[in-house]
Subunit: 249 residues, 6 copies
């Protein structure tokens, strides 16, 4: 064993691991449409895989918990199969997980999130649970910190969902998620979303079908294992480095 | 594809499947200690596998959703690694799942549960959500209906957790959960639980360590693939039969 | 005074009683239709009477609190007069009662329940409040433990609501509940409930009018004081015995 | 039958009654200390009896529901035996009751309350539930409107709990509540409550033991059946008159 | 500075003030229609001004917090512009404010309320938060204690909203709230409210437009600065006196 | 009147305004320490002033509601005077406001927020309330969109609270908030916050006193009316432009 994955351990093994573990990584994903070329479990699987890789790098100081395999996906609800949690449900799950793990002596947590729609809720959860439970919580959006690789390898100005970035990550981390024979560019629809994307003075809610007819943005046909490797490994470098500083490793 | 597993489908595939699907199976598990010889994800994995097998039998009339991979396990919290959800958290998750799937046209649901500690909460959820959301909900405790096989193959009078039944099921459905070299009988401790087991006039809460020092009951050393096969297949026969009657298949 | 009934005591009397009381019995009933031959308060009255009898046997070690006189009866709501509490309301009432009584030094509780529809909620309440309030809680379904008497005196295969068992109990404990001139057998209607009764692989929610047109099951015309006496006294023996063991009396 | 008491009716009787019933009276009481000379169920019993009498006068236009037999009594919690509900629990109970009765076609409600500590919560419940459930709700503090009788027969300037008024009402409506051999005047203690009684610029919370050592105020030794009769009957006249106007009877 | 107004202070100034401050005044207002002659912020502004004046009198022993500038106004919702909070929202705001101020060492609080519709909710909040947070809370309805001035200067039998009392108070405390050229008497409409006003046996909810077509009651044309001065100053005398007694000043 | 400010209007004026108003601006502020040189109401006042200016530009198509004058400020709670709302309280306030205004026919909303600590909660509120209430909601962080002016006039790399930006905005919009004789640079303390600021791979919670001893960051001594004017007017240009597009003005 070169990483502590709670789902694959017995309690005596967990007991031993707790002697060195200082932080629990909670993978947070989603269950939602990812266009015609990715499975709906995409975010849950990527969050899990990324967490596992990060745990290998930080062994024996961290463990990985079960994955929160659904998230806040109301903006995708009009595509068949999407399941969405209310923000308060997601916070309740995290509260119960953090509380439970604190009973075992863990006091630091990382919510490692692969789904943009969860990010605000995780920020609220972090603020709330830190004070409510007396623990220290960090959170991160999976590969968002891989700025160099993203700048170099992602050309689309509008990307972030079932695009070249996400499909590349999947090809590197979990290729079973991808239908290589179905890869499509985002089929963009005009709408108010243009005025509400990050970088605009206003933000706001819109449904995904108001932006894209096939559920994708960006250009998945440009995805590759190599891009995935670069993005993921740069992100892991950043995450590992930050955690080492915060844990004094 | 000979079963509809929502986690492994794209939205156009889900759209097609919804033309014949009448019922969604929601696997409900737990994350909790299972003694020295089973992974803590045991219940989540068994619920998933059992659901998938049931879906094969009922294809193309049912689909399987993502698994609720944690449950109500407060009675195991004193064993390292256990994570417990509050009953109201579990109900919130199920509410959000049922609501979401109803948006896609599904109006019948089966909570297929592998963890005894969830059973009351699922009963409450069933009552609550049926009326609140205007749907029809069933629930079942995984293999509890395999009465003949259990009578024939399980000798322990006290069993039901990481015992010959559960380990056998795992050997048949998901052998990676089992540490064959660590199999142990339950290391039973005397306590008030004797007066609170099913069959007594009173029921009540006790912690698992008050009943067993190693976290098991029954006798896992008697488990086998063959027992697992008989128990699981008899349970699947019963579940399939009931669903066919209820769905008029 | 040969039993401690909180509703009939003054505070100085309660103060004295608390010197020997170790457990509070909380009677939990319902307000719901009981067919043409029983008052709608049936369950509340039976829970109260049974609790009072049990308190006599365990004097001076227990007291009886006010009765929770409504319960979870949504499955009866389509019969005139039925009132139903949401499960979370019932739990809130019990939380407030247990919290209050703990202020007076009581740390053990028995929810003595006469209504099947409450049972899951009481199980959830037991789990939740035990940990939340740091107390010990037991619960029981009134006369369910009188297995011998029930086997001997109840012939109906489908019984449990305004049937020979319940009417007999009422004739013994509270005859004012019964309209002797209106006694009727259950007027059974076929429906999906056949596949959802205990003993089937699946459980689930159905409305009572889907099962019986007059609101009864079983055969109330076979009820008698003598059957009631046997069922109730056997149940009281069992309950008393269990409590004596659990309280070390 | 000259009044409709839901607890004493069968569903076919309720069905008939609903042809003329326009309003449901919900008796709201409390379970709390009432000094050395009254049972702790005093308020619950008085609310029930007063409701029943009012229902006789308004037969066949009203029915009486089961009694809410506990209330908001946190200010009495330091006296043995008192049980208190949180305000939100009381509102939840009333919400469920009103919702249930609305299913049976009743759209007007009277919360008939015998306990001062409930009054604000009932006001909030009235506002909340009126709009939430689309019904019409009234509420009243039992005999508070008997202004002439109270002025004539109650001399104490500080009264209102287990005093000459309340004991007199009990002697008239439910004499079993009173220990005639234990009647005592309030054993008043000085404290901040003097500045917080009605009529002062400020109001606020204080515990009852800060005001009275024996749990009473006023002078119960002056109570009589005759005073009770005058107070109760004047109150019933007022309540009946108001309801007749509001229901156009 | 001759009063401590938290909104106008820096944290070092607050730190100094806390050396003498024993009580925080929380002004509680509303945002609701006040007829054709007053701004909708009337109650929020009057609560603020009254609090500030009271703080001057009690300097340096009290401070004034930010104003709760909306309240429970559902009975005015059918007049354009009215905003209403649910009672539980108002309680949540007060809970958070009291909790926060307790972190700074303040343990006594006055909810100084200018809006009748808030009064029950404040009573419930007072009871709830006193026990939940371990603090001491008082509450008052602005000028209700100015009994002499009100008796002398207010002739209308039905008054209390945008009437001669309230307009007079505004002319004295915040004349910018008043449209002198629009002053109108209440345009009273007959309705069930006649049977539900204070003093009747029953109370209950009615919408304001059922009572007055222009949103006012009483006679605003009789308002004056002088009446306002007398009412406000008598109320301040009463409030100041009570607080001095309760704080031992 | 050249802007619609709900707090300064009567109901007949609101009724008229509603004929042209399409969007309500809800100013969202905070009450928290702003170092030794700004009042604690800073964010509430700036949100109000900015909203009013924006309303002038968009007259007669928008109105401004009362200000949410407290926010999520738990990270400042250790500085005297700070008041913090829980995220769920802030969402409840906004829910009640949006619901109320929808009764008056308004279906589009802008949460105009001046406090960074509110931003995630507003995002969650936007998602939640959009779907729950069937309205359209936008939100914005006050002057964050004034990218050119900020780039040109703000030199500090760490700024955003009581800094040259915020003090400049106050000098332009509400100079009474500033103590010109107390202006100080942020008194920065080293700590884990360095690894958690925006731009790092991780985010997380830290208390403000872990970052700055005087409660400020940046350099307030460089603030000026002119900078404030440039920042505010550029932000207003952006906000106005976006709203005109979204409202088709």
């Amino acid at each position: 064993m070169n990483s502590y994955l709670l789902t694959e351990m017995t309690w005596p093994e967990v007991k031993d691991a707790l002697q060195t573990v200082k932080l629990a990584i909670i993978p947070v994903g989603a269950h939602e449409q990812h266009g015609p070329h990715m499975n709906e479990s995409c975010d849950a699987v990527l969050a899990t895989q990324l967490s596992n890789r990060l745990a290998e790098r930080l062994y024996p100081h961290v463990l990985v918990t079960p994955t929160v395999n659904m998230g806040v996906s109301i903006h995708h609800i009009n595509f068949p199969g999407t399941i969405t949690l209310k923000p308060e449900t997601l916070i309740s799950i995290l509260r119960d997980m953090v509380w439970s793990l604190k009973q075992h002596g863990i006091e630091k947590f990382l919510f490692l999130n692969s789904h943009g729609g969860n990010q605000s809720t995780l920020s609220v959860a972090c603020t709330t649970l830190t004070h409510e439970l007396g623990v220290e919580i960090f959170y991160a959006k999976s590969t968002a910190s891989a700025k160099n690789a993203l700048k170099e390898h992602v050309q689309s100005t509008l990307y972030g969902h079932s695009c070249e970035r996400e499909v590349s990550e999947a090809l590197y981390l979990a290729p079973q998620l991808v239908r290589m024979d179905k890869l499509e560019k985002g089929d963009i629809v005009e709408g108010k979303w243009r005025n509400l994307r990050p970088g605009n003075p206003l933000q706001g809610t819109y449904q995904y079908e108001e932006m894209t007819a096939n559920g994708c943005i960006g250009d998945a046909t440009k995805a590759s294992y190599e891009i995935g490797e670069k993005v993921v490994e740069e992100a892991l470098d950043g995450l590992e480095g930050s955690i080492r500083k915060l844990l004094d490793l």
